[in-house]
């Protein structure tokens, strides 16, 4: 069921803001409240607004199930890969190899309150991004599936 033009335009306008805000929450997960799950859920909410405003047939062209599936699995593989990085370097699974190393996300942080530096926390931002991608894909695809299931005409009882 397609909603009125006003709602549709509003949803289209809102979507990029939801996307940016969600990505902000994902990226700053190690500095401010939030993280991969919360940010991914915000982005998926943006997608949900679009899905509600438009009809399923329109949305199926805009947001493809196959893309979302790939995105979800890719997020998970990135997550498990970031965790398995430590195995290759001789540490235990899930050891935070990049923290305090000086390389990517590797600035050290002294104890106490500070203003926050994005380039810290080692593999945590990478995992945040991975989980963000996964939750974004996962929640969107659940919505799409439920909608497609309701729309499909079934013969029989």
């Amino acid at each position: 069921m397609r909603m009125s033009k006003l709602v549709r335009t509003g949803a289209d306008l809102l979507y990029p803001f939801a996307l940016i805000f969600g990505l902000y929450i994902i990226l700053h997960g190690h500095l401010t409240p939030g993280g991969g799950f919360q940010g991914g859920a915000v982005v998926a909410t943006g997608a949900a607004i679009v899905i509600v405003a438009w009809a399923y047939e329109d949305v199926a062209g805009m947001i493809r199930k196959a893309t979302m599936k790939v995105q979800e699995s890719a997020g998970l593989l990135l997550f498990i890969g970031a965790a398995a990085l430590a195995l290759g370097l001789g540490y235990a699974f899930f050891y935070n190899v990049l923290a305090n190393s000086g390389s990517l996300f590797g600035l050290p942080v002294p104890f106490g309150a500070n203003t926050g530096e994005l380039n810290t926390a080692g593999v945590i931002p990478i995992m945040n991004i991975a989980v963000g991608i996964e939750v974004w894909g996962g929640l969107t695809i659940i919505l799409l599936y439920l909608l497609s299931g309701l729309n499909k005409k079934e013969e029989g009882s």
Binding site: S73, L76, L77, I80, L87, Y91, A92, F93, F94, Y95
Partner: protein, 523 residues
């Protein structure tokens, strides 16, 4: 290389099925053949890892894996004052035994399922969920952290629910899955409340840490009641057993065999909580009797409900409830005399060994029976006993496998069911003769029920509508044969198995201080 594998085996055991599951949707796009090869490859690697890990555990004692530490065996950081802060896998002999059960059953079931479920759609998702189920079982039985246990329990119940509903069957399978899933969600939440109580009292989530701080206050009793209620429901014991026949009968047969293992993973959780978390601090006699009563009720109710069933898988599901009762009975008797060393030596350990031996035996013969039921369904398309008959002429191998499974479940020598039931009978008789008599009567009723089933499926003249029925395909026979061989081997050499696998597991379960020492260091 070998050292690396053994050191990281507990992590690999979870990682392999997970990576397999994440990649299956992509690999499934290539072709069904490649997908099958991929799933078999992953499952083989997982099985090999489990066997490797188990052999190491049985030779060298408990293995520890700390996720996120510098080295996998650094359980307690030097500056933390002796508390574990990370998630720790504690694989002792009991966990290793459960891993072996899961791996072997999973491997046999996978081979069987390659041809049994070939006709269905959505197979990539099917195998993804199958691998996730394996990962859930492996995680549940190896983890040493209560919250991690809850997470794996949820992975297991969500993937099981998806697989139970897999055939849809005009909504019937979905109805069974719904029943299972509502109950298991509430159960998981109840477990989470219990975990929260432990956390609020002791500020720890590690099983060994909580065990070392355990005071057994009134709150701990509340948590114990909550956790026993939830896990007894999940393993299909009597007060809340009614999801079992529905879920077992509506799932594809290969998945039913895995559900048996899944319910045993919950049983493992129950034993782990009672023996490792509380051990002698709880009033062993009372809790032991509660578990014994649950067990006896399950045995009696299961078998009486089984006899009038018309659907062969429902019938087997009720028998599964009744066999779960034997495990609860054996281990419950062991629990009731826990802390009383002379009684423990005279019959307590034998009872526990019988109960634990029955877990592995049950997984093998019950899996085998469900697989034979699935093979029959694969050829004739019904589970209804009244419509079957005369199949012994055309499905000879299936008939032989069914006979092996049926005799094993009824406790007839020389099959493995006899070995474990004998241990349960003699030790329970020393504890309380009435219980032993009940156990024997239930066993006889089981035999009667299976003789009836055997007669109505395989005996009699060849029915005209099954004129063209053929033997089940070879991969299915291989899967069943694998389990049948184990049933016979365990039945022929029970002493070897008990000494090598079961006794270490039983002693590991009762040895709380050893478990704590393995994690926290020292004693």
């Amino acid at each position: 290389m070998n050292g690396f594998l053994i050191e990281h085996a507990p992590a690999l055991l979870i990682m392999l099925p997970l990576i397999g599951a994440f990649a299956t949707p992509f690999i499934g796009r290539v072709s069904p053949r490649v997908r099958s090869a991929w799933v078999v490859l992953i499952m083989t690697l997982t099985t090999l890892t489990a066997l490797l890990l188990a052999s190491d555990v049985f030779l060298n004692g408990t293995q520890i894996y700390v996720f996120g530490a510098v080295t996998p065996d650094l359980t307690v950081p030097l500056d933390s004052g002796g508390i574990p802060i990370r998630i720790i896998f504690t694989v002792d002999a009991m966990s290793a035994l459960m891993q072996v059960i899961g791996a072997i059953t999973g491997f046999a079931v996978l081979l069987y399922s390659l041809s049994a479920d070939r006709i269905h759609s959505g197979l990539e998702s099917f195998y993804t969920l199958f691998l996730l189920m394996i990962a859930g079982i492996m995680g549940m039985v190896s983890t040493g952290d209560l919250f991690n246990f809850f997470v794996f329990l949820e992975i297991l119940s969500i993937s099981s629910a998806g697989l139970i509903a897999y055939r849809i069957d005009g909504g019937l399978a979905v109805e069974a899955a719904l029943k299972y899933f509502v109950l298991s969600t509430i159960g998981a939440m109840v477990i989470l409340i219990a975990i929260g109580i432990y956390y609020g009292e002791y500020n720890a989530l590690n099983i060994a840490m909580i065990a070392s701080r355990m005071q057994f206050t009134l709150l701990d009793k509340v948590a114990l009641v909550l956790i026993i209620a939830a896990l007894a429901m999940k393993c299909g014991s009597v007060p809340l057993h009614f999801w079992t026949p529905d879920a077992y009968s509506m799932a594809p047969s290969s998945i039913t065999a895995m559900l048996v293992v899944a319910s045993q993973a919950s049983l493992y959780g129950l034993f782990r909580v009672v023996f490792t978390l509380y051990n002698v601090t709880l009033n062993a006699l009372t809790v032991g009797w509660i578990i014994i009563i649950l067990g006896v009720l399950s045995m009696v109710v299961g078998v009486t409900m089984a006899i009038p069933q018309k659907n062969v898988k429902r019938l087997m599901a009720y028998h599964a409830i009744s066999q779960t009762g034997y495990m609860l009975l054996g281990v419950g008797v062991g629990l009731a005399v826990l802390g009383n060393q002379p009684l423990m030596d005279s019959f307590g350990y034998i009872a526990m060994e019988g109960g634990i031996f029955h877990i592995i035996n049950h997984a093998m013969y019950k899996g085998l029976l469900f697989l034979t039921a699935g093979a029959i369904f694969f050829r004739i398309g019904t589970y209804n006993l009244n419509k079957m008959g005369g199949l012994g002429h055309s499905m000879k191998y299936t008939m032989i496998f069914f006979i092996i499974g049926a005799l094993a479940i009824a406790g007839i020598p020389p099959f493995n069911g006899f070995a474990s039931k004998l241990m349960i009978y003699e030790s329970v008789f020393a504890f309380n003769p009435v219980l032993a008599v009940i156990a024997m009567v239930v066993s006889i009723l089981t035999l009667a029920s299976f003789v009836k089933v055997f007669h109505s499926i395989f005996m009699g003249p060849k029915l005209p509508e099954y004129e063209t029925v053929q033997e089940a395909p070879v991969p299915m026979l291989i899967g069943m044969g694998l389990l049948a061989v184990i049933v016979i081997l365990f039945g022929l050499f029970p002493q070897l198995v008990v000494d090598g696998l079961i006794a270490p597991a039983a002693h590991a379960l009762t040895d709380q201080s050893g478990y704590i020492a393995a994690v926290l260091g020292g004693a």
